[in-house]
């Protein structure tokens, strides 16, 4: 799976970081998302799905493959 983030849309809600801390982090100063892994392994799918679904800014998109 491939994770695509929209940094401009990100509002620092931190939901992604709470759901999938090995995939998402936040920049301390700007509070913007940092993608730690662009292609996380399949065992992280549930976490990453939840992160995308619970992002209030809809800043996370997944592509399969």
């Amino acid at each position: 799976m491939k994770v695509i983030i929209d940094v401009a849309a990100c509002q620092g809600y931190a939901c992604c970081m709470m759901e999938a801390p090995s995939v998402f982090d936040l920049n301390e100063d700007e509070g913007k998302v940092i993608l730690l892994q662009e292609n996380p392994s399949e065992d992280l799918r549930t976490q990453v799905d939840t992160a995308a679904r619970t992002c209030p800014a809809k800043a996370i998109r997944l592509e399969n493959g």
Binding site: M17, M18, G31, T54, P56
Partner: protein, 391 residues
């Protein structure tokens, strides 16, 4: 199950429908909504949509095609009027009825209105897209807005109106904004923040009455003073939309009473979102939460329960509020806290912790989002209070 009826065209509803189809439910799905609109996103209604006027297409949670692709039979603009759980029938306003094998109740909550004090003139509330349209048209730069109630909606409307160049007064009965839930110290921080942006926050006073006058509406306060208003907005809370369930026999008590897996008290019925009161085993309390993230996750969970699941719903609640440049995020529970400890606070950021029964239950972070992940884990793990609070 042959047919699932989802009542409430809401955030919880679209996530429930997603889960039903993703997990192989091939029967009929009917979606009933009181408003004429497809389900839309509410958080922007007090912020950017209020400031610029709502983009009704941009606010939609799902495109019209999404419902067609999932075979959702839409019944919009007609509220559910009654439920017969024995016959498994939902009756709509106007008399049409839908029978169901599974029913998902997601009717949300509705804005409370002022009591007799509001009789003299229009007092606006903000809950729906139509409310947002009506209010947006009345936010005129230079005019004076009086907001009654310094809860999250009230403070967000105040901030938006101030950003648009209105002069704004907020009246609150409690000693500080948000203090009933977040405590006085946190509340005073928000009061200072609002004041720094030019909002007049008047706490510890009631609104006695509103009269029509020569310069707009005259808001008479309990402390004897008077405010003139071109526009009045009440943000005095919300209550669960359960009127249509009265007399149905399903158990209601400030919401639809559900078990740990979100089942209501009659067979084949689950609930999700603001309307749901359920027992949360992690916090050991019955709760009802009016929060965006809860609606997303409960919608999915209730759908899984309808499909035969039995897992308890134990997600840690999360909510946020944006006011001016303040990004407040809260994880866990603030209600019924025995201890509230402000870890750090300056003019632009704050971290405060909420404890009960010797463990951390909640954390508030203003402009400090990275802390949230740490505290959510501590809350999930039931970490002792003294281990998280700095000396």
């Amino acid at each position: 199950m042959r047919r699932v009826v989802v009542v409430g065209a809401s955030l919880a509803a679209v996530h429930a429908i997603d889960a039903l189809r993703e997990h192989g439910f091939e029967g009929e799905i009917a979606l009933v909504g009181a408003e004429p609109h497809l389900p839309y996103d509410r958080p922007p209604l007090s912020k950017e949509a209020l400031q610029h006027g709502p983009d009704t297409t941009g606010l939609l949670l799902r495109s019209p095609e999404w419902y067609v692709e999932r075979g959702v039979d839409l019944h919009l603009g007609r509220a559910a009027a009654a439920l017969d759980p024995g016959a498994r029938v939902v009756t709509l306003e106007g008399g049409a009825s839908l029978d169901y094998d599974g029913l998902l109740i997601a009717t949300g909550s509705k804005a409370r209105t002022l009591g007799p004090a509001s009789q003299a003139g229009p007092v606006y509330t903000l809950r729906t897209l139509d409310d947002c349209v009506a209010l947006h048209e009345r936010l005129v730069p230079g005019n004076h807005l009086v907001v009654i109630g310094a809860g999250f909606i009230g403070l967000e409307v105040a901030a938006t109106a101030r950003d648009m160049g209105m002069s704004v007064s907020v009246v609150e009965l409690a000693p500080a904004p948000l203090s009933r839930v977040l405590g006085d110290e946190v509340g005073r921080w928000f009061m200072t923040c609002q004041a720094a942006h030019g909002v007049e926050v008047l706490c510890g006073t009631s609104v006695e009455r509103i009269e029509a006058g020569s310069r707009g509406s005259k808001v008479v306060l309990g402390n004897g003073s008077t405010l003139w208003a071109d526009l009045i907005v009440a943000g005095v809370g919300a209550s669960p939309a359960t009127d249509w369930l009265r007399g149905s026999g399903i158990r209601l008590s400030d919401g639809v009473v559900c078990d740990q897996s979100l089942r209501a008290s009659a067979p084949g019925i689950v609930a999700a979102g603001d309307v749901t009161r359920w027992y949360h085993s992690l916090f050991d309390e019955e709760m009802r939460v009016e929060q965006w993230t809860n609606a997303v996750e409960q919608g999915r969970h209730a759908a899984m329960t309808l499909l035969g699941g039995d897992d308890p719903y134990i997600a840690v609640p999360y909510f946020w509020s944006d006011q001016f440049d303040v990004k407040m995020r809260f994880v866990g529970r603030a209600n019924a806290a025995e201890q509230i400890h402000v870890e750090r606070a300056d003019t632009s950021s704050m971290v405060a912790l909420f404890g009960r029964d010797g463990v951390i239950r909640g954390a508030l972070c203003v402009n400090a989002p990275r802390q949230l992940a740490l505290y959510r884990k501590a809350i999930s793990d039931g970490t002792p209070w003294q281990d998280v609070v700095s000396a």
